[in-house]
Each structure stands twice: as structure tokens, then as C-alpha cells.
Amino acid sequence: MATLSLQNVQKSYGGLQVLHGIDVELEDGGFLVLLGPSGCGKSTLLNLIAGLDDISAGDIRIDGRSVVELAPKDRNIAMVFQSYALYPTMTVERNIGFGLEMRGINGIERSAAVKKAADLLQISHLLDRRPANLSGGQRQRVAMGRAIVRNPDLFLFDEPLSNLDAKLRAEMRTEIKRLHGRLGTSVVYVTHDQIEAMTLGTKVAVMKGGYIQQFADPQTIYEKPANMFVAGFIGSPPMNFVTGTLTSDGRLARFEAPGVRVEAPMSSGEIFRAKAAVLGIRPEELKIADVTGSMLTGTIDVIEPTGPDTIVTVRVGDQAVVARLPSRFSSKAGDGVYLRAELAGLSLFDAVTEMRIQL
């Protein structure tokens, strides 16, 4: 177990800067998820932590000790790769024990450690096989076995579930969470899957273009996104964005758009005069309301029952708003509808800077 501290980490390839001053602190035993779309720099950052690539500036500390000058093998980390990176010429047993073999651990001790890890991951019956003779899920388990057998300070996961089918992915996600709970080792986990980020992370760093957009616990990221990128990236269906104007007198703020009117008390005391703003509403926050308590008024465009609930697209003015409503939904397309949401579930963004506005 160890803490991880990234201080102003930068990375450039020639003139191209791909990471701009990344600052992250992970507590002992924490689970940090680096989340972002392809090309946001999350895998690069993971490689820098692993020591597979050199940083251009800044510092990386594991348990308070700077590791930037250390080779990957001396950082006492273990990594699970997207492709699993199992050694194809070796058996499962040797794959798992390779790290111990390289560190000069004797055969008996090594076998015992490999067996223990294999038991934990329920792959003891596969030890004599080669990676080519394993299924995707089994390979994934072997890759994890290779990581846990060494008892490292830090686990690094590079999109470990992206090559699995949906069912297996959910299963392995639970398995990873269970393992983390059991071993208590700190984890850095790279993914572009927001479900993995929300379910696994104790801290999530949402990245885009080599910058951290928001670094917080999953709940904060979900409920109080720092900007429109974070708001749109997390959640499925994604957050609705309604453009309109924001007016306030310092005590009461009012957001207005065709078919939309929301009023909320404010504590910042800031005055807005018809400022261009964007209202963010998560589809699951929207509820059917009557005329008096409604915030949005529109007509139903499309109804998509998914089983547990119904996804309803509503035309509000000239904008589309998606609501996730209960499965027993009796209206039909073309009907008028009134919607409302809890004030705490709403977000406001500056239409120009796309940053969150604190009321």
C-alpha cells in the first residue's frame, strides 16, 4: 500500500505537449480512475507513472519517494495491460511467476505465491496452459494474477476490461472491486468507460486534451460537474443542455428559455443581467409534473421503453430534452408534457467559457 502524488507532471514529444501540469494526490489504499476520451493523455500518464516513458517536467512520488529516476522494475508497481500482455511462449504458471523469477525468488516460494494468487482468482486449473489456449476472461484473470503475486505498492490498470464482452466486463468489474477491497493496494485505473469510473473509483480525474478537467470523488463529478465537458462525458443518456439566459438580483436567480423557466435562491450574491447560460439537467432528474410546479413545458417527440424505464425525448421550444421516466408511462408521441426536477440536481454553465456557475 502506498500514496501516489503527481506534481505538475508534464510530457512533450518534440514540440507537442501532451500533458500540461498534472496534479493528483491519491490516498493510501485509494482507487484513482483516469477517465477521458481517446487521446486525452490518460494512458500516457499511466506510462509515466509506470516508468515506461520519461516525464518532461514535474515529479512523481510513490509513498513520498520520488521515482522519476527509477527504472520500471525498481518502482515496485504492477500493471495490467489492455491486451493483457501475457508472454505467449510461457505457461500460465510461469507468466504469473515471471516477476518473482526475475527478482530471484526460489522455485518453492514462487510456486506457493503463484498458487495463492491463482486460488484467489480461481485459475488454479489453468496453470499448465499457454495464453493462446485461454478465453478472454481467463487471460484477464491471469494478467491480474501476474500483478497481485508480487504484492506491489501500486497497481496500474490500462483499460483492462475493454476487450471483454458486456457480461464479462460487468463480472470482472465486480471482481476488481472485490480484489481491491481485499488487498487494499492503491490503484490507478485508466478507462474511457464512465460506468467503470463511477463504480470503482474513490477518486476520478476526468481528462481532456492533456488537462485534468475535474479531480474529485465520483459523486461530486456526477452531481457537480466542473464544466460542460465533464457534465456531458459522465452519464448515460448524457446530461441535457438547454441554452437560455440567466438573470439574477443577488438573491434569486432565474433561468429562462423558450418552454423553460427555473428559479433558484442564490448565496453568491452575484448579479447577472440576461447572461447567456446553459442549464444542465440529468435525464433521471426529470419527473412528470403538473402545470403549476413545472420547469419545462414541451411535446413528446419519441418514446423508447428500455424495460426498467422509458427514455422520452421531449421538444422544449426548439431544443430536445431527454428524460428517463418510469416504465409505466402512459402518454404517446405528440402529447403535451410538463417536467420538473429538484433544484439540487441542476447545473448551470457559462455559455461562453462552459464553466460551472455557482449560485
Binding site: K73, M79, F81, P88, M102, R146
Partner: protein
């Protein structure tokens, strides 16, 4: 309709087989002819009517070339020169190919292009400078000198071939090994080389065959019996024995035997090696 299509396909098949069989005959013909000649008595070789299949079979030619000429020495020399060439290529070329495949450094592309440029010039052009260099370091007419000369033009080929095989080995495996406790060199040795094993075998055999069969450099850079290789030795026998066709044919067959043997032993590995990377997965 169907019948026309079938007959058209059959015609295409016949044509394909005709071309393939005639090409194979064209390639195998001289070797088969040489083999048959080596089994004939001298009197049956130059005759009024062509004798395709020998009436009388004799192994006298093989005995003669092995016992009455310096042929065993020539074969021995060829073996040593080939071995040295392959060892030097393996030791230096593997590291070079790995560096080209994995590292980005200043002048990398220029250097790789430079390796190709060496192959661009005809061997005749290289011989005179090479001769001068080898003479000045006292390696003319030595097996090591000849092996070094071979290395000079076979190493680029070896490096280029092997680089392709290294490129095909996933980089993540090495990263995993480096995290698992290997050094960069260890990761190459334990992970990449076992993966590129077929490529290594294929490239080495290419180099070995080229060194084994080489004639021009051997002719120019060796003068004495001590370092002469079989292609030159066999050619020189032409004058010595006043065209003893049977003996020469026996020598030819004996000389290509190692190459055929090597090919037969590793042909599967070699085909695997040469097609690796062509198909992903």
C-alpha cells in the same frame, strides 16, 4: 450457364497448373540433370545419343571428388566462413535490429537508409575497396577476412529482415517484462527473441545460404587452398581435370546438400517466419 462457368474455371485451372509445373521443371531440371550426370560413368556422359537416364549407375564420381581432390577442405572452409558470418550477424545484427525497432534516436532513419544503400551497389564495385581494406589489416586470404566481407553486405539484409520481425512483436509484452523486473536487454532476451524466433531462424538461414553459395568475393579475396571455399574450388577444377563432368556434377550435388538439408529441416519455421506479421493475430 453453370456448365460454361465450370468449363471456364477448369480451363483456368489447367493453365495455372501448366504454368506452375513448367516453372518447377525449369527450376528443378538443371539440378536433376546434374544429379543424373553425377551417377553416370564418364563414357556415358559424352555420347552420340543423349542418355537421359543412366544405363549404369556408379558412385565413383563421389568417391573421386572426396578422395582425389581438395574438395573436403573447400567444404570445410565454406562451413567455417558461413558459420563465422552467421555468428557475427546474429551477435551484432540482432542488437542493431532491436535498436532500430524500439528506439527513436537522432539519425535513425538515415542510418537505416544507409544500410540499404550498401545493398544498392553491385558487388563488383565493393570488391576493390574491400580488398584494399582487408589487405591493409592482413586479412586477405583468410577465412575470417572473407567472413567479414560477407558480413559487410549480408548484415544490412539481416538487420532489415529482423527489424520487421521485432516490429511485429507487441511492445506491451516488453513493457510488462520491464515492470516485472527485467532490464531492457533482459526483456529483449527473454520475451522478444523467443517471439521472433522464427524470424531469427529465417534471417540466419538467408545469410547462411548467401554466404555458402557466394562466388565473386571468394574468388577475389582468397588465393590459397587454406581459405578457398567450394564455389571457387569447384570452378578451378574445370581446368585442372580437363572437364571431368561426372566429378564436377558430384561436387555440385555435395555442395548443395547442406543447403537443401537446412531448408528441409526448417522450411516450415522459415515460411512461418517470413509470413509472420503479414496476418495479424
Amino acid at each position: 450457364m453453370a456448365a460454361t462457368r465450370r468449363s471456364r474455371r477448369m480451363a483456368a485451372d489447367i493453365l495455372t497448373y501448366f504454368v506452375l509445373v513448367s516453372m518447377s521443371l525449369f527450376c528443378i531440371g538443371p539440378i536433376a540433370w546434374m544429379f543424373l550426370t553425377s551417377l553416370k560413368l564418364e563414357a556415358d556422359i559424352v555420347t552420340q545419343t543423349m542418355q537421359y537416364i543412366p544405363n549404369r549407375i556408379t558412385f565413383q564420381n563421389y568417391v573421386a571428388i572426396w578422395t582425389q581432390s581438395s574438395f573436403p577442405v573447400l567444404i570445410g572452409n565454406s562451413f567455417i566462413v558461413t558459420l563465422i558470418t552467421v555468428i557475427v550477424c546474429l551477435a551484432t545484427g540482432t542488437l542493431a535490429a532491436y535498436a532500430f525497432s524500439r528506439y527513436t534516436f537522432k539519425g535513425r532513419n538515415t542510418l537505416m537508409l544507409g544500410y540499404l544503400v550498401v545493398r544498392m551497389f553491385p558487388a563488383v564495385m565493393m570488391i576493390i575497396p574491400l580488398y584494399v581494406v582487408l589487405r591493409s589489416v592482413g586479412l586477405i586470404d583468410s577465412r575470417i577476412g572473407l567472413a567479414l566481407a560477407y558480413t559487410s553486405f549480408l548484415l544490412p539484409l539481416f538487420v532489415w529482415m529482423l527489424k520487421g520481425f521485432f516490429d511485429a512483436a507487441p511492445k506491451e509484452l516488453e513493457s510488462a517484462a520491464r515492470i516485472d523486473g527485467s532490464t531492457r536487454f533482459g526483456a529483449m532476451l527473454w520475451i522478444v527473441i523467443p517471439l521472433a524466433r522464427n524470424g531469427l531462424v529465417a534471417s540466419s538461414i538467408f545469410v547462411a545460404i548467401a554466404a555458402w553459395n557466394e562466388f565473386l568475393f571468394a574468388l577475389m579475396l582468397t588465393t590459397g587452398q587454406g581459405s578457398r571455399t567450394w564455389p571457387v574450388g569447384l570452378q578451378l577444377m574445370v581446368g585442372e581435370f580437363q572437364l571431368p563432368w561426372g566429378v564436377l556434377a558430384a561436387g555440385g550435388i555435395l555442395s548443395i546438400l547442406p543447403v537443401m538439408l537446412m531448408f528441409a529441416l526448417v522450411q516450415r519455421v522459415m515460411v512461418q517466419g517470413l509470413t509472420a506479421g503479414a496476418i495479424k493475430g
